[in-house]
Amino acid sequence: MAEITNTGFLTAISEQSAGVSIELDNVTKVYPGQSAPAVENFSMSIEPGEFVVFVGPSGCGKTTTMKMINRIIEPTSGSIRIDGKDVLSLDPNALRRHIGYVIQQIGLFPHRTIAENIGTVPRMLGWSKSKVAERVDELLRTVQLDPADFAKRYPKQLSGGQQQRAGVARALAANPPVMLMDEPFGATDPITREKLQAEFLRLQAELGKTIIFVTHDFDEAIRLGDRIAVMSERSKIEQFDTPANILAAPANDYVASFIGQGAAIKRLTLIPVTAARLLPVAEGSPGIPADGSLRDALDLIVLTGSRAINVVDADGRPMGSLDHATISAVLGTPSKRGGRG
């Protein structure tokens, strides 16, 4: 009976491919033989379609916390609900087939082609051959790998960045509403990494999954997250807020030290130029598009040596101008309009 209900539930959430809520309630993990818990009384509520980043130093328990959601690690106590349903009541294998999972080492199966790797979960879910093949093609195009070129290749014939894309495609295969990602871009070089981040953001804008993303790189967290949980030892949440609010008002010294140098510049990246109080149009000054960030504006001021620059709308008409003082003024008042919206 329970089995039928569970299957029904999983089918139901898998139809809501656009993201479901996740709640963790007083979740604790104590490893056998260790007195101190790795995760202690962790509680968090994540909205459907939200992109949440766990950030903290190595060994702080962020990965353990994430892996309890798909029960790769079993919690010692507490409850975890996906779309209101306690995951501990579900068959772990059936559960995992409906949660996308990407790890840093990717873990592509070396003896299977890229197409076979991506088709693994759909095949387990009993999709027809033609449907699997269609889905694989679609996903390869989504992650910008040409199916004609890559489908038949083996993992070792791909570069690190390509493997990572294949890993993301594999996790997306059955269109799961939830994605768990453990430092998925951590092993790639900085340029590839930035490219993968940008592509992944674009992808997420279309898909609207509920994503939990673990990283120790704060800049990556700012770039990707709707909300960031800054964690310390035993997965203690030091602050859980939007990137803009964390940068503007770190909750404590720990968070401030984690943000590190250049907090102001990092904040400017997140604030659109339209958030500043514009001055009258300055004739003959360079222009910046209205969808640029204040960081872009500052760059332009420094590069051109102008005292002020104009903000121009989509049709190229100047809307007003910015200078050093107006940019500084935005940072002086924590912005409610900041962030990615």
Binding site: I72, Y101, P110, H111, Y154
Partner: protein, 262 residues
């Protein structure tokens, strides 16, 4: 221990020597049959030029030689097949047992088994039980069981933890992880173990003559005892040829069965 092969597993440390040299492999595929052909032709030419006495004629004729070759190959194949059927599932079972202590015990017994001289096993078994074919098969199986079991365990343990975690993370049951991920990835190591045991078997089948189990060892031992060098030579060359060709065949099977992408 009567023979050994170029198996990639270094028993003493359990490390796999990841040395696969393409040109070495190509050279080897061509070299082994060529070498065997030359050795056989030279031996045949040498022996046919000789004036054989009556003792030599009794053994150096097609009927006698074919019978010895058949005995030798049957003993080798029967023992190796039994080892494959018994030791690989046993290796999987031991791997599945979570207890580290149990695995440690099995590996320690494996080490002792590795240090045991095959000739000692064969002769002890003949003394406490009986002589003949069945004893030779039992001795061979007992002897090759542990290396194959050990290679199966090592092969399974070497599968990358990331691949296993990814498989679990996408909801494969433990049985599916074993069938779809672990076993295919462990195949090369398991096959290397079987290949070792197969070549081993050819060698142990040679000493089976001491316990009246037949095979080409008969020719070698008779040749030595009766001071008939041609008999000894033909027996030794034939048994070496069989060992080299079986190793060669097993190597080709290994290459064909190895999962692509590795």
């Amino acid at each position: 221990m009567s023979t050994a092969t170029a198996d990639p597993v270094d028993w003493s440390t359990g490390e796999v020597t990841r040395f696969r040299d393409r040109s070495a492999m190509v050279a080897r595929w061509a070299a082994a049959p060529a070498f065997v052909a030359v050795a056989l032709i030279a031996t045949f030419a040498f022996v046919s030029a000789l004036q054989l006495d009556s003792i030599e004629q009794r053994t150096l004729n097609p009927d006698y030689i074919t019978a010895r070759i058949r005995e030798h190959i049957v003993l080798t194949i029967v023992a190796s097949a039994l080892v494959a059927v018994l030791a690989i599932p046993a290796g999987i079972l031991v791997h599945r047992v979570q207890s580290r202590i149990f695995r440690g015990i099995v590996l320690t017994i494996g080490n002792i088994g590795q240090a045991t001289p095959a000739i000692g096993v064969v002769i002890l078994l003949a003394i406490v039980w009986q002589t003949g074919f069945a004893t030779a098969v039992v001795a061979l199986v007992a002897y090759s069981f542990l290396p194959v079991l050990r290679n199966t365990m090592i092969g399974l343990e070497q599968v990358s933890p990331e691949a296993k975690e990814a498989a679990r993370g996408m909801g494969m049951t433990p049985g599916q992880v074993l069938r779809h991920i672990e076993l295919p990835l462990a195949t090369p190591t398991i096959l290397a173990g079987l290949r070792t045991s197969l070549v081993f078997a050819v060698g142990v089948a040679t000493v089976a003559t001491f316990i009246n189990a037949g095979g080409l060892g008969d020719m070698i031992v008779n040749g030595l005892k009766l001071q008939r060098f041609p008999v000894l030579l033909v027996g030794a060359v034939l048994v070496a040829a069989i060992a080299i060709l079986i190793d060669w065949l097993a190597g080709i099977v290994e290459d064909l069965v190895r999962p692509k992408g590795l």
